[in-house]
Symmetry: C2
Amino acid sequence: MTADETLLSPTSRTTVVRGRQRAQSERTALLDVLRSARLCHMGVLVGNVPRVLPTVFGLDPEGPDRAGTLYLHGSVASRSLVEAPEQDICVTVTVVDGLVLARSAFHHSMNYRSAVIVGRPRRVEDEHERTRALDAIVDQVVPGRSTHLRAHTRRELAATSVLALPLYEASVKARTGGPIDDEADIAAGDVWAGVIPIGEYVGIAERGEDVEPNLDVPDHVLTLSRV
Amino acid sequence: MTADETLLSPTSRTTVVRGRQRAQSERTALLDVLRSARLCHMGVLVGNVPRVLPTVFGLDPEGPDRAGTLYLHGSVASRSLVEAPEQDICVTVTVVDGLVLARSAFHHSMNYRSAVIVGRPRRVEDEHERTRALDAIVDQVVPGRSTHLRAHTRRELAATSVLALPLYEASVKARTGGPIDDEADIAAGDVWAGVIPIGEYVGIAERGEDVEPNLDVPDHVLTLSRV
């Protein structure tokens, strides 16, 4: 990776226009946002509608695409995945950290980190890369899970489309801190303002009905859900 | 509202093709998903890219649009909001309820509820409706908050675009329950499988630095964050 690729892309499509003070230009910030999420929202033009679909993703910051690779997958019958490599798509990841309650509706906000990645996805054909991509997707949702699973079968691989999106053309926005109110509203002093922290709640793992009760709960499950 | 509008739209754009068994056809399911979320992802075509942006929204199930109204807002300078009323856009809301750990990567999944709404947004010009929309957006994030705030000023209203999207053309998908594994993998009996519940964690409200310490924390904050 050359030096300029450690910065996020400066193309006009991913230059933050609104809320410039919230844009971050470091690639580390992009990876931080991506690593904090289990889900992304993919935008693909299907029949003239910019369809937005929630989906899981995998990450390989050292992947073969420019500035690293984000992997997407789905059924070979999925229209969105079939049409995606013929166009530029968008993948957005959003992590909400808090609700910002101001004295006026106008200054209400959220503390958040979000990443928007734009690009032409590459259909992944190489079997080794497909396997690594699918493992990365499992591990993005449950870190450490993939090594406990049997190998993907030929039939499973044949039923699955895998796409690779370069991490090159991307923007990151973030907001932190308390409400920023108009002086007159602060002076009035009659409305409570502040931040309500928001995060992900992880509950206690529930063993599947057909799982042997004596089977040890593996570490990657214990770590995530503190059974 | 006529009877057929209590069902979700049967147009091809919002008919669920993949995972048909997970589609739900009740309008109550749509409202349930929308009421469970504080954020949506909006898809708008900007410069040939189906741009996906996280944003807050407001709900009026009895709103003036067909099958009710979802409100979006933003700065009048936002390119996405300026271009949206000239095209069909997509609004997607996703609520994750659990991580489904199967014995194979292939059968990993999530328990979730998601709604996809498609349509041509209407620019809201009427001042009464704009005010109600902005209050609905505040109350979607923090229920009960809007009645504690002063009225919107003319300047604030002038700086804000409000869009209305009909709840008519929509689809809802949901998954619940444990992993569904291949029989051979169940018989092998060597991999733990189950569900890790996921939800929203709401922390303890933090008073803003410039807020009088003696000011009572209002009920809508206490209810949400159990200070």
